[in-house]
């Protein structure tokens, strides 16, 4: 029951992009471990994401 609720909550977070930072860090650990720089912190990551996301056609009629 608790497990089901937790998975539902995870699904909601994934669908809304609430967990974007966690996903980014996981991706970074997997792909860029060897790089010299550290992963972006939460604030820098979010700022960067927002800038990137709005450079194109995002919404429709």
């Amino acid at each position: 029951m608790i497990e089901a609720a937790r998975r539902l909550w995870q699904a909601v977070r994934a669908a809304t992009g609430d967990d974007a930072y966690e996903r980014y860090v996981a991706h970074w650990r997997e792909q860029h471990r060897g790089d010299s720089a550290a992963p972006l912190d939460r604030r820098a990551f979010f700022h960067e994401e927002q800038r990137r996301k709005w450079e194109g056609v995002r919404r429709c009629c």
């Binding site: 699904a11 909601v12 977070r13 994934a14 669908a15 809304t16 992009g17 609430d18 974007a20 930072y21 980014y24 991706h27 970074w28 792909q31 939460r42 604030r43 990551f45 979010f46 700022h47 994401e49 927002q50 800038r51 990137r52 996301k53 709005w54 450079e55 194109g56 056609v57 995002r58 919404r59 429709c60 009629c61």
Partner: protein, 702 residues
């Protein structure tokens, strides 16, 4: 490993006989549903029939037609690595769960379009619009979205404009770019007009819509500074404040001093929307645009789900007749016969070219597996089409007399309530001033007459459906909730559209004056934003002072532009299919393309040259010019006429431009396809070579 998974999957399937019986039952139910709504004449019909017909047709279309397109025409290849896998950078390109991609894609394609178009098209009765939404989506719109998504996936996630240039040559590319720009300007103007008509003379609605701006800014500051990236927390706060604003509006409306601050006429509101649009375009996105987009997406999905549940459970009676007299005589909301104008009025929900921009934008960069293109491309459009069906139901549960009283502009039925009621009752749709006054009082409005644009009538429809479930006392609150909900995401489209058009303009002007191309250089931002806002602001402002309400001339223009964009996407798709050696299946995209070319050309021709003053831009301009020349219009009236003549000719010029664009593209497509088939020189297919997916071991994921 793969065979093992395949075996497990096989074991879970129904035996073929059971499956076929089940689908036969769905087909019978679909036929019954369509027969019920098509043959029904008389008092009223249950909304459930619309839902049954729609769901069954969508299910059949998805199960069989999209499977055919996926397997035979496009030959989706699950072993092929997608751009998301090949270019995985954890940001733009990223293999993402198919349900999440579906959600993002749907949120991006579904705007106010499918709510407004069907509401306006209900003037023909429910039947023409409903059939077009169902058939147009299954055979046209869904296919377009799906094929555009597929083409982009096979081309490293390139945009429609780039693909048009690559596959059709430079002419196709340039025409596509200018077309997108033009459609954006018209779209924003007409959407702005819908919001203005909903707020005109209504302090409650205006204060609620105005409150969405500081609420969005608050949410933006929260997500930026206080708790970066906590989308759910920020949204919860925002939604709570929005609901508070809806309730608070009643209190503002009741206070005689406060209500004066929010009580404006159309032109003043138009100027405010224009100023707002400019501010939103030059302010940083994180402050206004991004948080507004979050709020509107959550509101949109929540309200659509609530509406679907309410319609299914409450099963309201649809009171609009199947066909009205306006199928072949000029209607009050817009003029023109059912052919071709129902196909122009309902673009979003049946087939919308705008979607091709999304299908070739963010979405193709997220798909983990090419096979999911069917679910996301075809599937998301089915849901949008279903939204359009619900909008049609919500408009048609109103008494037809009430529907026409709300939506008919004063220039046609008369500015006085008594005149309007008399005209509408003369058409055979009974309505009385007492009934309209009572309705306006229930909704907390001063009047509901001549609120052209679709938002108020949809809000009345939604309010009456919702209040059936939750009691009559909240009717006014539901109404203003519906207005707020529509205004919220219309303004999101206004902001986002202005921004996109600005980027395009910067890019185009940058070819002449290089520094303008720098997207973050402030003088360039200010100049280009001002130009874009002036473009749509012009149409918006003159829409509000047009005695026929503006929607009359702008909505058909928007429909033609949107269908033109769809034609461009289908041209590109057809070329791709022919070049891939599948010419015998090219009818899959040629069929909707031919239909769109017929309806846009017919509609454009009538808007240009019809002698009927209500339809033809040029004949209307000439008539006004003759009146001025005769001295029948003098002084202020003559001045106003001069402006209207100019606007008519401007609209005519745009219509001509759209029509020529479509034909240039069609001729180019025919030329390139013919060259490809006869082995002559043509731009080669730019499909990327097959690279095996490394995610292949677990591609049987579901």
């Amino acid at each position: 490993m793969a065979t093992n998974n395949e075996a497990i999957k096989q074991a879970g399937r129904l035996p073929p006989a059971v499956s076929w019986l089940g689908w036969a039952a769905v087909a019978v139910l679909a036929a019954l549903g369509v027969a019920a709504i098509a043959s029904h004449r008389g008092e009223s019909i249950d909304a459930l029939w619309f839902i049954v017909a729609a769901v069954c047709i969508y299910a059949l279309g998805y199960r069989f037609y999209s499977a055919f397109v996926a397997a035979k025409v496009l030959t989706l290849d699950p072993t092929r690595a997608t751009p998301a896998e090949r270019f995985n950078d954890g940001r733009d390109f990223m293999p993402t769960n198919r349900w999440i991609v579906f959600g993002h894609h749907f949120a991006a394609i579904a705007g106010p379009g499918p709510l407004i178009g069907p509401t306006l098209a209900a003037q023909f009765g429910y039947l023409p619009g409903t059939l077009w939404i169902l058939i147009g989506a299954v055979l046209g719109g869904c296919v377009q979205d799906f094929v555009a998504l597929f083409c982009s996936i096979r081309r490293d996630g390139r945009s429609l404009g780039q693909m048009a240039r690559d596959e059709l040559g430079p002419i196709g590319g340039a025409v596509a770019l200018i077309g997108v720009m033009a459609i954006m300007i018209i779209l924003i103007a007409v959407l702005g007009l819908v919001v203005v008509n909903a707020m005109r003379g209504s302090p409650w609605a205006t204060s609620t819509v105005a409150a969405t701006i500081p609420i969005a800014i608050l949410v933006g500051l929260y997500m930026r500074g206080v708790r970066p990236g906590r989308v759910l927390e920020a949204t919860a706060i925002g939604v709570a404040l929005l609901l508070l604003a809806v309730f608070g509006g009643r209190w503002i409306d009741a206070s005689s001093t406060l209500r004066a601050w929010f009580d404006y006429d159309g032109p003043t509101l138009a100027l405010m929307v224009i100023l707002y649009g400019f501010a939103a375009a030059v302010l940083p996105v994180w402050l206004l645009l991004a948080p507004r987009d979050y709020l509107s997406t959550f509101m949109k999905i929540g309200t659509i789900v609530a509406l679907a549940v309410a319609i299914v459970i409450l099963n309201p009676a649809v009171k609009m007749p199947a066909l009205t007299r306006f199928i072949d005589e000029p209607g009050p909301i817009f003029a023109g016969n059912v052919f071709p104008f129902v196909f122009i009025t309902i673009a979003c929900g049946a087939i919308s070219g705008f979607h091709a921009l999304i299908s070739s934008g963010t979405t193709p960069k997220l798909l983990a597996n090419e096979r999911d293109a069917r679910f996301i491309g075809y599937g998301a459009m089915i849901i949008e089409s279903f939204v359009a069906i619900m909008a049609m139901v919500a408009a048609c549960v109103l008494d037809p007399g009430v529907y026409f009283a709300i939506n008919s502009p004063a220039g046609i039925v008369g500015a006085q309530a008594a005149d309007a009621v008399a005209t509408i009752s003369n058409w055979g749709f009974q309505v009385s001033t007492a009934q309209m006054d009572e309705l306006a009082r229930e909704m907390g409005e001063a009047t509901l007459f001549a609120r052209t644009g679709g938002a108020p009538s949809l809000a009345v429809g939604m309010a009456s459906i919702f209040s059936n479930a939750f009691g009559d006392t909240l009717l006014a609150v539901w109404y203003h909730f519906a207005i707020m909900f529509e205004a919220l995401f219309i303004l999101t489209t206004v902001d986002a559209g202005t921004r996109v058009a600005r980027f395009m303009l910067q890019d185009m002007l940058g070819a002449v004056v290089p520094p303008l191309r720098r997207t973050s250089w402030y003088p360039s931002v200010l100049i280009c934003s001002a130009l874009v806002v002036a473009g749509w602001g012009y149409f918006l402002y003159f829409g509000t002072i047009d005695p026929l309400g503006g929607i009359n001339s702008l909505w058909p223009l928007f429909g033609i532009a949107n269908q033109m964009l769809a034609a461009i996407a289908l041209c590109v798709a057809t070329t791709v299919i022919v070049k891939s050696g599948k010419a015998r299946y090219a009818w899959v995209t040629v069929l909707p393309l031919v239909w769109l070319v017929i309806v846009t050309s017919a509609a454009a021709w009538q808007k240009l040259f019809s002698p009927d003053l209500a339809i033809g831009f040029l004949s209307h301009a000439n008539d006004l010019a003759a009146q001025v020349a005769d001295g029948r219009l003098v002084g202020a009236a003559a001045e106003q006429a001069a402006r209207r003549i100019f606007n008519d000719r401007l609209d005519a010029g745009l219509t001509l431009f759209f029509m020529l664009t479509v034909w240039v593209l069609v001729v180019e497509t025919a030329r390139v396809c013919h060259a490809a088939l006869s082995g002559r020189r043509c731009p080669p297919s730019t499909e990327t070579p097959h690279i095996p997916s490394r995610l292949v071991e677990d591609w049987v994921r579901d």
